[in-house]
């Protein structure tokens, strides 16, 4: 909602004047704090990266071990985001549409990955899926599936941290959906499945995509919950953030900075995409 127009309003060069006071104070503080805490530190990274020079940067960026770690981080994050999308939509649907005992508890529980520190999640998951842990032993015994200390473990950890994003993005949209359209569709003879896929899902699509993107973005950079369960074998199961830490610990600042910059660029791109998606959804569907 925009500020109500008042008489004598002029657009100055870049902002509309308002009756309310405090713009320069709050804006000034905002910009100063933002620069101090966020922009200057990130600039340090950009400057250090730039000082590498393009050829060296490219050489580092195409180093097979780094490429492998980026592949793992992004691959695992995509896989986890897909799983989260599928189950997230189901969970959101169930929470919004159905009533059953314990629904409120479940709704609260969905936010657990937001509230639980990543290190706590990390050791819990590692213990759970270790060869001698309850799930790990079960999976290995019954399915022959090694989870702990493999890339599969990484995916599981990322599923945990990314799970609330899809649910929380889809839920409000689902709540706002006008049931009338569904009813019309049913009255006109469409089966339930058809109604769901042709009528409801398209309306949910921006929210689903946003949730997917958020879950993915979170998974790519995740460190704390993954390092306990990953087995960190170079070229096979090293996630990119771990490789940054290893490069740092080897005094290889150039390598660490290069990987960090690549990840940053991709993260910004994701952020951009997410904002676009949300703007699109606001435009076509009137809500976030």
């Amino acid at each position: 909602m925009r500020a109500a127009a008042q008489d004598g309003t002029r657009r100055t060069s870049w902002r509309r004047r308002s009756v309310l006071p405090g713009f320069s104070l709050t804006m000034g503080y905002t910009l100063a704090y933002l620069s101090l805490i966020v922009l200057i530190p990130l600039a340090a990274l950009a400057i250090r990266s730039a000082s590498l020079g393009w050829t060296e940067f490219w050489a580092i960026a195409t180093d097979p071990r780094i490429v492998a770690s980026l592949q793992l981080s992004f691959g695992a994050a995509i896989l986890a985001a897909v799983v989260n999308t599928v189950f997230g939509v189901i969970v959101a649907w169930v929470l919004v549409r159905y009533r059953f005992p314990g629904r409120r508890w479940l709704d609260a529980a969905v936010d657990l990955p937001f509230a639980l520190p990543t290190a706590v999640a990390g050791i819990a998951l590692a213990t759970l899926y270790a060869p001698n842990g309850p799930f790990g032993a079960f999976l290995e015994g019954v399915f022959g599936l090694k989870v702990g200390f493999t890339s599969l473990g990484v995916v599981l950890a990322l599923i945990f941290v990314g799970m609330p994003f899809v649910v929380r993005t889809v839920q409000p949209v689902l709540e706002e959906i006008d049931r009338e359209t569904e009813e019309v569709s049913a009255t006109l003879g469409a089966g339930r499945l058809r109604t769901v896929t042709r009528v409801i899902m398209p309306g949910l699509l921006p929210a689903i995509l946003t949730g997917f993107a958020l879950s993915f973005a979170r998974g790519v950079g995740e460190y704390g919950s993954v390092i306990f369960i990953a087995n960190n074998l170079p070229f096979q199961s090293e996630i990119a953030p771990l490789l940054i830490v290893i490069k740092l610990e080897e005094h290889n600042y150039a390598g660490a900075t290069a990987i960090a910059t690549i990840m940053l660029v991709i993260s910004f791109a994701m952020l951009f995409v997410i904002n676009l998606l949300q703007a699109w959804s606001r435009k076509w569907f009137g809500h976030d």
């Binding site: 000034g28 503080y29 100063a32 704090y33 101090l36 805490i37 097979p64 071990r65 492998a68 590692a126 213990t127 270790a130 060869p131 001698n132 842990g133 702990g148 200390f149 087995n231 960190n232 074998l233 170079p234 070229f235 096979q236 290893i246 740092l248 610990e249 080897e250 005094h251 290889n252 390598g255």
Partner: protein
């Protein structure tokens, strides 16, 4: 700006608050991964028995982590007055890149600045179900090995070099065969932890792997303090003499009395009391005369190569050849496509 300035002021105040009470000298000892128990007891003994020339007591803080990682932390500016790391190269790097340690640090204390030594052994599960006796068994298909990452852990580098030494013995000077041998051991690795203690945890607590390659002191610690009866220690036929060195970081000893206290702290490691504590924590003291004979009886005689053996050529050759970026360790994990 007000809030931001308040925050900044608070942060700076906290930083400045690092100063100790005026009748106390504080030292920070940056050490490698498995030495926690050793320095817990040693620091208590030192603090209790020592006063500076002007009568102050000394309070010591510890930081532990993989040796390479800790070296980086010192280079990056952590306010450490003493380093007690896993191998000579890590301290050399600090001396070279930060200038805070004099280049001749090795000659300033006896035994090439190593008050204790250790070696590399295997730990297996009770009963040794996979019949692991020597290095060749580690290369067998189907054997799962746990060892830390040489890039961050000092112990991991000693592990690697011990394996290399054995390979050199087996295959003469044929470096291609030695490489293949060491590579086959590393292909059996289940998990690369960042430090020796982390690897021990993975092996004992998480039930991963059939054999753990580790420091002798770490193996004894696990057997006696942790899981009595669940594991066995196996001595291979050939190992390496691991010399974890210590040094004063003179460049960081700027407060009153710190330099003297730091030097006395390290010298105490060589004193009878220090050597007794060292032996009690399963390290081989360089002066066994003061140690409890029962502690010494634990150690087996084992043939040990030295890092200065021509196979390795000292750390100056071994570090770049094996462990630097693009070195032989990096090449092991290149996927064979």
């Amino acid at each position: 700006m007000r809030g931001g300035l308040i925050v900044l002021a608070a942060a700076l105040a906290l930083g400045a608050c690092g100063g100790a009470a005026s009748n106390e000298v504080t030292l920070l000892n940056v050490s490698y991964d498995p030495t926690r128990e050793l320095y817990e007891e040693f620091n208590a003994a030192f603090s209790a028995n020592y006063k500076t020339p002007d009568g102050k007591t000394v309070k010591i803080s510890m930081s532990h982590g993989g040796s390479g990682k800790q070296a980086r932390t010192v280079i990056d500016g952590i306010d450490a007055q003493v380093v007690t790391l896993a191998l000579q190269n890590d301290i050399d790097v600090i001396a070279r890149e930060s200038g805070k340690i004099p280049a001749d640090w090795r000659t300033r204390l006896p035994g090439n600045a190593s008050p204790y030594t250790s070696t590399i052994v295997f730990m297996v599960r009770k009963g040794n179900p996979k019949a692991i006796r020597d290095w060749t068994d580690l290369a067998r298909p189907g054997v799962s090995v746990v060892t830390p990452n040489p890039k961050t852990s000092g112990g991991a580098r000693w592990n690697y070099l011990a394996a290399w030494g054995y390979g050199a013995r087996q295959f003469g000077g044929d470096e291609a065969k030695i490489r293949e041998f060491v590579a086959s051991i590393y292909r059996n690795v289940a998990k690369l932890d960042s430090g020796a203690r982390g690897a021990t945890t993975t092996f004992t607590n998480q039930g991963t792997g059939d054999v753990l390659i580790t420091w002798e002191n770490e193996a004894f610690y696990t057997l006696t303090e942790l899981e009595q009866g669940a594991f066995e220690l196996i001595y291979p036929s050939l190992s390496i003499k691991a010399e974890p060195p210590v040094a004063v970081v003179a460049g960081n000893a700027r407060k009153d009395g710190q330099l003297q206290a730091a030097e006395d702290y390290l010298r105490y490691l060589y004193a009878p009391d220090g050597q007794r504590i060292v032996a009690r924590h399963f390290y081989r003291p360089i002066d066994p005369s003061a140690a409890d004979p029962a502690d010494l009886a634990r150690f087996h005689e084992i043939e040990m190569l030295s890092i200065d053996d021509p196979i390795f050529g000292g750390w100056d050759q071994a570090q770049p050849k094996h462990f630097d970026a693009g070195g032989l360790f990096d090449q092991i994990y290149q996927p064979a496509r």
